[in-house]
Every structure is written in structure tokens, then in C-alpha cells.
């Protein structure tokens, strides 16, 4: 039976540009949440963010393309290239439809669009440039990657807020099932701009803290909201047969299972129980054909508010509570802030790096963990053999998604 493999990773994150920079930053425990640069955010009751400070767009994007696109798309273009290079992937010359781009989007081209709307209202319609129509909308990054790299396969864009990164993988599986062998998935976000930050602040979930150690503390007794981050990850998924046929050298792992549900409860409040979140996890395990006892690690959503953290631990406890040993749970978003659509994609990359090296990154600023029966909250990085990792994500409004990643074993794949 053919499997779905991850054969390339491209990371543009607050923790670093490129997989090794990101990973060494996580393993060494170097937080990337700092005072916001570029504008004064104090009016918004926010001081900190996870900005991608090492990103030099000119190193990744043609200047002619840069003027047509928002920072969010620059990061997507860069991450897509990094993923393809990591995979050693060249689209097959004899089949232009063999490669797809299926990304998650969140808030679109924020800075570009704010600039154009500002000009429109300050100076009039003629100040709006020729690229607003293609820079702002949610499909911009997908379209630009497809055009730059010549990928003509079935492409798509899904928006499910923070769950989007996992959902792009879930939808890409349908594309592969229907005969397209390679799909770029994941996404990036660039919402650390005045208007986008204000918009996010209105939901009341951002931490007002000025010191990083006080700001975004998932599963800590002092959790009081989250910090916004930017960036994300793009991954190359390939059908195992196609990957083998082209001699892919690099297999990060297998996408073994996926499940998604919606709370269907309230337009912004989470459901008062974790029924649907737990169901998403169970669906993904059943899809992968594994039991809760086989899971070595859960990469949590880690929302960072007491209520949402408690619901996540309830969901995990419900699914994994029967195990003989508590399931290890970590929340690597705590190092970067929440990157919306980019965040769950980055967590998939992080989980694959953990599988490769047998290292579980800890959760930042988790000094005083909440009570979590049946759950082993990972405070410090640790060495642990990993075969099966579950990545969880939630999106504002009630989206719940769960992805099962498995270490790739060549002998099974060729059996």
C-alpha cells in the first residue's frame, strides 16, 4: 500500500530561517518572543511578538516579485523553495500536473493591504497600485508559488485559523488519493502589523505582559493569553511510490492519520467540554490504525489561556487516559508565539525533527504546570525514542484537528 511521506521541510520562523536554525534554537531553549520591532504596539495593550528577525526577503525572493507581494507571501515563497531544496525535488518535466500547492491561509497580505487602504482613503482611488488585487487575497501565496515553480496540479487554499496548517495536509491527502503524487502544504502568516494586531487583540486572548517569561505560558498556572508570531512552514508531501521512483533521499516521516471536527458550539467561545476535540484525536488515531498506547508524544496546540489549556488537557486525558504511562505533551508554540495558519504547519515540522533526532523540545516558561492527570507535560528538552507523534491544532471559533506522524521504515514501505 502506498504511503504519504514528508520528503521536504522549509521553515521560516521566529526561531530561525531553515530547519537547522529553528531546531537548534528549540533544542537549546532559546525563546524567540521579544519586544515588537517596527512600530509601537503599546496602544493595543500588547508588547511582545515572535517576529522573524533573521529573514532577509531579498535572499529568497526576486525583487520584481517582492514589490507585487506581501511579507506573508515572501515567507511562503522562501519556505516553498527551502522545502523543495530539502527534498531534492524537481517537478517532473513530462508531467506539469504532477505537483500541487495546497496551503492554509489566515489573515492574508496585511501590511500590503493596510498601505493600500490607507492610500485610498487619504489620497483617493488612483493611489491604489496595480498589485493590491493580487497581493492581499488569501490565495496569493499559493498562486505565486504555483506560477514561480511551474506547478499546475490541483491547488487549493483552506482557512480554519490556527488549525489550517494541519487541515492543508488533510486536504492534500485527498489530492494525492486522486492521483497527484506531490503536494506542497503548510503555510505562513505575517500579522505583526498595526491593523492586523489590533484585529487580533479584539478577541481578548493576547497577553499584555511586557516580559517574555510572563507572556505566553501554555499549561502553566500563570497562563494568561498568548503572543502573536509570524512565519510558518511549508512541507513537501509525496506519494511513497513516486518518491521512491524519483530516488528521494530524504524521508522525514509518514502522514499516518488525520481527523478534523468542529465544536459547533459558539461563534467564539469553545465548547464547555472537550468532546469534539477528543473526537478529532480519536478519528486521527483510527485513521492511522494505532491505539493511544502506541503514541510517544503529543505536540499540543497550547492556546495559553486557562480555559483553553484545561480543555486541551481534558481532550488528551480522555483519549490517552487508559495508558499505563502518562503521554508526554509539549507545546513548542510557546517559543515562537502563535502563528495562526503557520503555527500548526511549523509544529508538524518540529514534530518531524523530533522524530529524526529522538529529542522532545520542552515548553517555554512552563515553570509551574497545572495538574494534568495522565499527562506528562514536558518542561525541558529531553532525549526520547519516538516512533509515533500526534500533532494537535485548534482554530478560533471551534476548529479541532489532529495529525498522526509515523517514523518512516524503509523495509515496511518496500515490503
Amino acid at each position: 500500500m502506498n504511503r504519504l511521506l514528508v520528503t521536504g521541510l522549509g521553515v521560516v520562523a521566529p526561531t530561525g530561517v531553515g530547519i537547522e536554525a529553528h531546531w537548534s534554537s528549540l533544542v537549546r531553549g532559546e525563546p524567540a518572543i521579544r519586544p515588537i520591532e517596527g512600530f509601537d504596539p503599546s496602544k493595543y495593550g500588547v508588547a511582545l511578538a515572535g517576529q522573524v528577525r533573521d529573514f532577509v526577503p531579498e535572499d529568497h525572493v526576486d525583487p520584481r516579485l517582492m514589490v507585487q507581494t506581501d511579507r506573508w507571501t515572501w515567507m511562503s515563497l522562501a519556505a516553498a523553495t527551502l522545502a523543495a531544496v530539502d527534498a531534492g525535488y524537481d517537478a517532473p518535466g513530462d508531467d506539469v500536473y504532477a505537483t500541487s500547492v495546497f496551503l492554509a491561509a489566515g489573515s492574508g497580505g496585511n501590511e500590503f493591504s493596510q498601505h493600500e487602504i490607507q492610500g485610498l482613503w487619504a489620497k483617493g482611488p488612483r493611489s491604489v497600485g496595480a498589485y493590491q488585487s493580487i497581493a492581499w487575497f488569501y490565495a496569493a501565496s499559493t498562486g505565486q508559488i504555483s506560477i514561480r515553480d511551474g506547478y499546475k496540479g490541483p491547488s487549493g487554499v483552506v482557512v480554519s485559523e490556527g488549525a489550517g496548517g494541519l487541515d492543508s495536509i488533510g486536504w492534500a491527502r485527498r489530492v494525492v488519493r486522486r492521483g497527484t503524487p506531490a503536494v506542497l502544504v503548510g503555510g505562513t502568516e505575517a500579522g505583526v502589523t498595526p491593523y492586523a494586531l489590533l484585529c487580533q487583540a479584539t478577541a481578548g486572548r493576547l497577553s499584555p505582559a511586557t516580559r517574555p517569561e510572563d507572556a505566553y505560558k501554555p499549561f502553566d498556572r500563570r497562563a494568561g493569553g498568548h503572543v502573536v508570531g509570524e512565519g510558518g512552514a511549508i512541507l513537501l508531501l509525496e506519494d511513497s511510490g513516486a518518491a521512491r521512483a524519483r530516488g528521494a533521499q530524504n524521508v522525514w516521516g509518514e502522514v499516518a492519520g488525520y481527523g478534523a471536527t468542529h465544536d459547533a458550539h459558539h461563534h467564539e467561545e469553545p465548547a464547555p467540554d472537550a468532546t469534539q476535540y477528543a473526537r478529532a484525536i480519536r478519528l486521527s488515531l483510527a485513521d492511522a490504525g494505532v491505539t493511544p498506547g502506541e503514541v510517544d508524544l503529543v505536540v499540543a496546540d497550547g492556546a495559553g489561556t486557562p480555559e483553553l489549556d484545561a480543555l486541551e488537557l481534558e481532550a488528551i486525558g480522555t483519549v490517552f487516559g487508559e495508558r499505563a504511562t502518562p503521554v508526554p505533551v509539549t507545546a513548542p508554540s510557546s517559543w515562537t508565539g502563535r502563528l495562526m495558519a503557520g503555527g500548526s504547519a511549523l509544529n508538524v515540522a518540529t514534530a518531524l525533527l523530533a522524530l529524526r533526532d529522538g529529542i522532545v523540545p520542552g515548553t517555554a516558561y512552563l515553570d509551574d504546570p497545572v495538574d494534568a492527570p495522565g499527562v506528562d507535560l514536558v518542561q525541558q528538552s529531553r532525549v526520547q525514542d519516538l516512533d509515533l507523534v500526534v500533532v494537535l491544532a485548534r482554530g478560533f471559533g471551534g476548529f479541532n484537528s489532529s495529525l498522526v506522524l509515523r517514523r518512516h521504515r524503509e523495509e515496511e514501505a518496500t515490503a
Partner: protein
Amino acid sequence: MSTDRRRVVVTGIGVVAPGSMGREGFWDMITAGRTATRRITFFDPSRFRSQVAAEVDFDPKLQGLTAHEVHRNDRFVQMAMVAADEAVADSGLTFGTGGADDATDPDRVGVTLGSAVGATMRLENEYVAVSDAGTHWLVDPRYASRFLHQALVPSCGATELAVRFRASGPATVVSTGCTSGIDAVGYGSQLIEDGDADVVISGASDAPISPISMACFDTIRATTANNADPEHAAKPFDARRDGFVMGEGAAVLILEELEHAQRRGAEIYCEVSGYANRCNAFHMTGLRPDGVEMAEAIDRALGQGRIDPTEVGYVNAHGSGTQQNDRHETAAVKRSLGPAADRVPMSSIKSMVGHSLGAIGSIEIAATALAVQRGVLPPTANYEVPDPNCDLDYIPNTAREQKVDVALSVGSGFGGFQSAIVLASPDRRDA
């Protein structure tokens, strides 16, 4: 193998379209060949190149939304909710009511909502307030609405529908620009085919008639400059066409697994027998005249339902009314259907309801499903002067009574997306 495939049928339709109210109002209007394009009334368009749009005279409270639903949601979500209410009522399904033995399990109900530009109208209006009409880059939070996170991220539209109908299956917003409305229905169908849902509330909505949207299409001259005659400004396939007319609206379809629909004796509009999309990887706004990638999407969509090109009885065109689109699309249909293209009737309802970006794909699927069900093909309005590059049968100006077993609806959008969906009459299925 195809006999094992879970099949998808349409059992409910709801429409919010310009110039009409509800599904039947919409159908009456487009089959009468009446246009809803007019001079923009939402704001003073006099400083804009294109001053024409197809606006919906939409009163959300009259349509049943509560004050709070209106307060917290952009117009695109409001229109989606109203269209969904009509579609669900039409389907006869009862969601979230519990108790009844035959009630659909909420966990088996999904949502796929397309939108190209989401809450752009609300984002712009709020920006005017918080920036003091574009004078402050560091916007002022004191003037901000409580619900701007929902405006920033369009997934709120899927959330509102999931909450409204207690649909706890997979939910997402699909945002592939101007093919969003086809792709959302295509993805919804895949959810059912793959066994992840039995029912999907699927459609699309967009409300882009705001200054920033009009301005951004002005500058690239994609929209019409025919301001002198707004009622006849949208002229798809006509040699005099000079750009699309902006529109708005929503359509929602209830997609249902065939046996699920049959068990409850549901009335079936049509089957979704194929869907495919491709990218042209050419240009964000430009199209090559040969239509190769759209043709590939059409071929694949027909292939999924094992439908021969000669069986296609109607093509619901993208027909935006730009010079390049209509030429591109005509070439694509000829490439896919071959000699049959010369006989197949093809029309663009954008001539009447405008181009509502992502929403229009679902509105056109609604029109196509109704055409299959009722044996009437809506026309292309304002068609007078033939273009030698567009030489198919565009059903000029007057609807046509014609039984259709298989219909095709296609779309094309910024970013290079090309999508095709195939609807088949239930009569054909049982034959």
C-alpha cells in the same frame, strides 16, 4: 471500481443574489434575462473608473438574522447564513434537533464555505474608523469593533454555519480566489466521497462592493468602464465586452451521500459526478488564449463521472466579460468537448448578476443544478455583437427550454486557478 464510490447528490439550494430574493426569485430573474447591474449605491463611485455593480438589496434582519448576528458578522457571513437557511429548509433535513431516529448525526455533517475576499468590506469600514480615514498608520483601538478577529480571518464564516446547524463534522473556508465557489462544492463532495461526512453544507459568499475592491480592479482595468449604461454593462462573449461588473451574493447547496438521501426520500436536484481543478502556472491575472489547463480540469471532471463530452448538454460559463477570459474559456471548452462544443449551449449568468468573485462559482452551480432539474437554460444577457474569437452558442438573451442530462460549470481566477464541476440529472443516473 466506480460502483464502490460514494456518490454525492444535491438536495437543497439557497441563493442570495442581486436583483432578487431567494432561490426562486433568482431563478425567475435569470431565466427572464433580467439584469441586476446598476450604478453603485453603497458609496459615491464618482471618483472610480468603474462605477457599476450588481448589488443585493439585502436586509439581514428581514431575512431572519438576529441583531447580534448582524452586529458581529461581515456582510459575506450574513449572506452565507441566509443562503444556508434556505438551503437547509429546502433539503428537509433537521439538524441538531435530536430525538428523531432518522435525524442526521451532527458529527457526520460538514461545512465547506468558499470566499475569495472574506470580510473585506468590514475590514475596510473599520479601518476608516480606526485610522481616521487613512491619516494614522498606527490605528486607534478606541474606535475598533469587538469582532475584528472574525473580520481578519474568514474562517468565521464556516464557524457561523457549523454553529448554526450544529454541524460538528469537518469544517473549513475555501479561499482560492474566483474559483472558491466551485472548489468549496468540490471539496464538500470529496468529504462525502471519502467517507468523512454524509451531508455537507457547501457554498460560497462574497461581498466585495467596497471602495478598496473597486479601486484595485480599476487600476488593472479588469472591471467595466461602461458607466453610461449600467443595466447593459456586463457583456460576456459579446465583441463589445470591456470587463466584468462587480457583484456580490451567496449560494449554499446541501450535498448529501446518495443512499442517505434516498433513505429519507429526499428530492434530488442532481448528482455531483465530477470535480477537478488545475493551475495555469502562468500569471496571477493573465490567461494564455489556448485554455489548456482549464481544458485539463474539464477533462478530468468529466472522466470522474465517466461522461463522454458528447453527453454534455449545457455549459455554465465563467464568462466574466473580460476580453481575455471569454476567449480563453471558449478555447478551453472547444479543446475539451471537441466537435460537440459547436452544438452545446453555453451561457454566462454574470451578464445579469455580475461577478461576485468567490461566491459566483456556487451561485452558478445553483443555476446549473436548477437548469438540470427544470430543463430550462438561462441565457447570456446583453449579447448582440458576435466576436469571431468567441463563436459558440451562448444562448443570447432568451432562456431556452431544453432537457439536460449532464451540465458543466467552469471557473477561472486570479492566481491561475481553473476549476470544473459536472452535474448530472438523477434521471441519467438511474437510466
